[in-house]
Subunit: 155 residues, 3 copies
Amino acid sequence: MYSIVVENIYLLVIVTLISVLQNAFFLLKVEKECKGVHKNPAAFERVSCANRNCMDAYPTFLAVMWCAGLCLSQAPASFAGIIYLVVRQKYFVGYMGQTSQSTPGYLFGKRVLFFLFLMCIVGIFNYLLVRFCSSDYKEYVETITSAASALLLLP
Amino acid sequence: MYSIVVENIYLLVIVTLISVLQNAFFLLKVEKECKGVHKNPAAFERVSCANRNCMDAYPTFLAVMWCAGLCLSQAPASFAGIIYLVVRQKYFVGYMGQTSQSTPGYLFGKRVLFFLFLMCIVGIFNYLLVRFCSSDYKEYVETITSAASALLLLP
Amino acid sequence: MYSIVVENIYLLVIVTLISVLQNAFFLLKVEKECKGVHKNPAAFERVSCANRNCMDAYPTFLAVMWCAGLCLSQAPASFAGIIYLVVRQKYFVGYMGQTSQSTPGYLFGKRVLFFLFLMCIVGIFNYLLVRFCSSDYKEYVETITSAASALLLLP
């Protein structure tokens, strides 16, 4: 039981751990700015806002990534998760930047989340096909998904 | 392995996906108001607050729904999840409404969360009964739970 | 299938349920202060801020605890989860206290989260050892982890 479970989720767990490290990094940044809030209130406001936006989207990201990994295949889901973390890092750093910069908005990583969302739908659709039509396309779908996940690297 | 896992969670995954869509809808509303914040700061404040309250309760909801689905039975848990999403939609739309309207408060969907919470407790209790007394009431409990979940439809 | 799954997660589910109860307690506190916000805006600000900090860290905590419980062993993970909930309760109550008190900061329960984080890494490392070297240290690791979790009780 133990090995089978871990075999199917260990990449997802690794991505989750990296995201936790990133959350800790964000919180440390906020705490650092919080101590110097009297000198630079605008910077604290920006970093706190960036952290809040990232945290608001965090449960959604975790839920979609784990669903995609469990329903279809963990390798492309974890790869998309890594890409999402890179996008989030860029968003956070960009938000902390110059005041004159335009606010990067609330949404980020839309493309990655959309890809993971599609993976979930395909996984469930494939399960229903297996159940009601006894036709299993899982291997083809996994190959296509792995190939498609490379498209996320496009800027 | 794969089919067994997906068979037991696919309804939960579908509800999770719907909740993700709803989150995206909320974020789009916030972003739309954010662009017009100079014209109508009160509306932005309201929609941002409604979004924050919904997001604060989101991990709690996901955790309780998945626990209830895994411990007892996925069909009533998913049904309660759908009801929760409907309640949340009504809460969000009501919050965005007239300023004169009384604030709907921080809590919403208490009844649904309480029902899911009870499902978890019953599921764990049943597991302990199976383990220590070798008496399995799971089928009766599932039937009762499915029937009881219809009570959530009462206004 | 059902019994095997519940057997490996029931302690985690119980800790999750307790954390949900605690979230409800926090929200009730916020709602109570919100009604008296005209009399004491500082108290509302404090309790709302404490609640937001707790909620921001909540998905991270859930993710790490479940990963640790699934990858290695549920008993020490649940024990660490209980300790985290106690720390969070102390943090929340401390935050609500006197205004003159120094702000307790954004981070709390660092030690517990770090312990759970280590558990995840050890669990994945052990899985990779099993897979590539066919040497299973899981029982030793579980014993050491259970003993080490007692160290969290140190103040």
